[in-house]
Symmetry: C2
Amino acid sequence: MTKKYDALKLENQICFPLYACAKEIVRKYKPFLDEIDLTYTQYITMMVLWDKKQMNVKTLGEYLYLDSGTLTPVLKKLEAKNFIRRSRDKEDERNLCVSITDEGEMLKEKAAGIPDKISHCVNLTKEEAEQLYTLLYKTLGDLSQ
Amino acid sequence: MTKKYDALKLENQICFPLYACAKEIVRKYKPFLDEIDLTYTQYITMMVLWDKKQMNVKTLGEYLYLDSGTLTPVLKKLEAKNFIRRSRDKEDERNLCVSITDEGEMLKEKAAGIPDKISHCVNLTKEEAEQLYTLLYKTLGDLSQ
DNA sequence: TCCTTTTAAATTGTGTGCTATTTATAAAGA
DNA sequence: TCTTTATAAATAGCACACAATTTAAAAGGA
């Protein structure tokens, strides 16, 4: 019989394994990211810029689900490492344009092997990984409402 | 045709939706947790104690995937709110025993409605939720190796 | 018993991540 | 045009989260 407080148990929540999984997988990235002197947040920021080359902070934040309060210090650190450039948009000075540097492009080469190394830490079948991927994006969509 | 750097795109990673989903769902808890003066980390700590009544920091950390560096300040705040007690184990003074107070028990009543409110933020079917749950715990198991 | 090793928490320092506020710029309206 | 409103970043303050170190206590071995 289901008891009054069962829903309050850790093992009956969907949020907890999500929270724990995200933390643990980010931890797995650490040794690989250390080698290229990036944190996980810096890494996902670079991933967007490796793909899109340039973007303002607001749009970047929409991709990453982060706001300027988090991004500003991250971007300043990436700029200090010469992986990105930060400059005001001449058309609209409110916008800060973030763009990748040559050094940032070169970093992509060094990062190219990371996704494969991480995939070895998780033993999901191709079908399971696709299922998880689909369910996570469906959930993310619901949560963004 | 698959390109050399495709694996480095945000949308081809499993970690990113995991990371984003975890953040967004924790954000959904915030208004409800604000009402009972708990942060998410404090809430999952209380969940373990509502269930188990008492436990040392190390064991608590194994349940929550957190270490003493994170837990010590969290536990001090919960003690300041009179939801828990912290006391050294008489048998082995290295262990700190964390136990729930009457006030902590009373908080359970106020928290009882939260899981149901959160479930309305995510529109997964019962089957999808179970699938996601299973895949997350499978992944968490792999990552803990 | 005394010394070494191990273990559990606490501490330190860095980096997010969030809310709320502030600053600067642009847009909109009387 | 002048004022009000809206928008984009930056800033401030708080709370994790983690790695590395320190402290205190217990266990194990010569």
